[in-house]
């Protein structure tokens, strides 16, 4: 069952078409990575999902129903360019933004206290945002994104600008949110995080989808049948390490058994980084 379904979305700004017939399917309770170089159209697509911009054509379904104004309460959005009112108290600000998402004031207050306890930041309640460090503000921004317990979470470059400690915290929170039933869509340049977190990805370049699928399938699809082999030849006491091309792993094993004693044998799967660079540069040509 797909929680989010985007069908043939097009968007043109003035003369430049930034999205060409984009379609994606995001299964419920999965993490979906939106990959692509700068200016590929990721942010435009994300803004369309948040109903900040309207698509020229195409349809979007959330939980099987066409996306509507009421879905604002079902979506949590952490934009790439993010900030808070500097002069406003942290708690007032978070409650205000939660209210704009349609939450009741008392309920927002209650949940905010829960989050403050969870992050151990109770003493920030009455502080102004300008008194907080950048890392502290990032925590608040994250809380603001999730406080209304949205079913769909959209993070635009969530790891950019976050310090390593907060990146880690964010990753754990994202995984926890999925466990609790949320569907997560995020755009990123950070390929390591894609391998770590994403169930499915889409690669977009110049407004066109060039790849979509599950991370493991894609890796299989783009593997170059390379194996990392470590073995100890019969005529030598030192171990040898080789990278071998082979179409059939069984034949490879047979081959090596004849030469020496196998220490380890692993298939080398391409990293998402390599796939990304290869596909983007070939589609640019």
């Amino acid at each position: 069952m797909n929680f989010l379904e985007i069908k043939d979305v097009n968007k043109t700004y003035e003369t430049k078409q930034v999205l060409h017939d984009i379609s994606i399917s995001v299964p419920k309770q999965s993490i979906y990575g939106l990959l692509g170089p700068n200016g590929a159209g990721k942010t435009t697509l994300i803004r369309i999902l948040n109903q900040i911009t309207m698509p020229d054509s195409g349809q979007i379904f959330l939980d099987g129903k066409p996306l509507s104004k009421d879905d604002i309460a079902n979506i949590g959005y952490l934009p790439e360019e993010r900030g808070l009112y500097k002069k406003m108290k942290v708690s007032e600000q978070a409650i205000y933004l939660a209210q704009l998402k349609g939450m009741d004031k008392q309920e927002a207050d209650k949940r905010l206290r829960h989050w403050f306890i969870k992050f151990g930041i109770q003493n920030w309640w009455n502080k102004k945002v300008e008194e907080l460090s950048k890392g502290m503000q990032q925590k608040i921004q994250f809380i603001v994104t999730v406080i209304h317990e949205p079913k769909l979470l959209i993070f635009d470059e969530p790891f950019s600008g976050f310090d390593p400690i907060n990146v880690n915290l964010l990753k754990n929170e994202i995984l926890e949110l999925r466990e609790k039933g949320a569907t997560i869509l995020f755009s990123t340049h950070n390929m390591a995080s894609v391998e770590e977190l994403c169930d499915n990805i889409m690669l977009i370049n110049q407004g066109k989808k060039i790849l979509e699928g599950s991370v493991s399938d894609i890796k299989q699809q783009y593997k170059q049948h390379k194996y990392d082999v470590v073995y100890k030849p019969f005529d030598c006491s030192e171990v040898t390490r080789l990278t071998v091309n082979a179409t059939n792993p069984n034949e490879l094993v047979r081959d090596i058994i004849n030469k020496g004693e196998i220490v380890s044998l692993n298939e080398i799967l391409p990293s998402m980084n390599d796939i990304f660079i290869n596909l983007v540069s070939s589609s640019n040509n």
Partner: protein, 437 residues
Amino acid sequence: MKIGIIIKREYLTRVKKRSFIIWTFLAPLFFAALMFLPAILMLNSEKFDEKKTIAVCDESTLFLGKFDNTDVNTFVYIESDINDAKNMVREGVYDGVLYIPRTELNLPVNAEIYSMKQIPMTLSEYINSTMQKTIEHQKLLASGIDPDIVKAAHTTINVQSIRMSENENVEKKTYSEFEFMLGIFLAMVIYFVIFIFGGQVMRGVIEEKTNRIIEVIVSSVKPFELMMGKIIGIAFVGLTQFLLWGVLTLGIYGIVSTFLPVQDVFSSGSVMSEQIMESAADTDSQEMLTQVFDVIHSINFKAILWCFLFYFIGGYFLYSAMFAAIGAAVDSETDTQQFATPISMLLIIPMVCSTVIANAPDSALSLWLSMIPFTSPVAMMLRIPFGVPIWQVVVSVALLFATFVVFTWLAGKVYRTGILMYGKKVSWKEIFKWIKY
């Protein structure tokens, strides 16, 4: 309603600011001080005046005994040479010396006052007017005219302008100097509040754009809702400020006038002005007071208050929508000039014409400026104390409100595109393109 939440935030964050509280409470004190201090100072003027002894070195001998001694000023007639007199001033015997040089043919028209410290203006004015009267007296005598006849012929004319209406029974005394002043005052107030609160809207928009909270907010509410919420919230801030100013000013006025006999303040004021303008000598202070009340009663304050409210709201909405669009189009406050200046000019036009309008409130220029929505808030405030036909007010307000509806709609379009646009130097052409989207 989400717009209600936005209005509440915009309102509360501003009303809770220290600058708002200080300005709200200090301004009425300042106004009260402006109202009462001159009167209080005048009442106690003797306490502030230093006693002065002035030597009169009159070579013409025309002014002997003409200067009267008062509580503060003592005149001593001396026969010594002016240089000796100056030395005596240096030694501190006298505070100053009035030197009237001898003239051969004509009556003296020049005099000099030498002093170490500046002579008070009231004193030099007194000396001036006394000498003037003495010389005029001399001249009249020389021409064989009895100065008493001239004095008797002196008349104060009071031209009362009375505005008529179709109805024979309705005739209204008018006091155009007062109406003129009131018109200028009201126009200044509306001009400043539109700029102050319109500027707040613009800065608020820029703040949201530069601190990048805007994208989070527009994912929850429509940009138009956010813009309107901000404009309405700040309008309430303005209205709160007016209300508090009104209440506080009346309160302070009430307190001060119970402790200070207002009657005294008024009459002492008129006594003082009598001393300065001798011509008003026959005006009894009581009569002056009744005239003040007469002027106050002749003004329809209720109508003025309603008009002020309507034009403030209409003018503020029209201009703040434009200021919001500017705020959305630029990246920082320093970039606002190229857009804010032409828009400000629209509001400055009636200010530049203010004396012309107040001087001829029913002229064609006044009529047109009070009809054109961009200039009508200021122009109508200039006209309103003189009384404006009701149909003109209705048409003008209707035009103003219709324009502000259209302009908020257009501004909303610019705003919607502008707030998510960063790092782009925006031109007027670009803005018109956004309107067409």
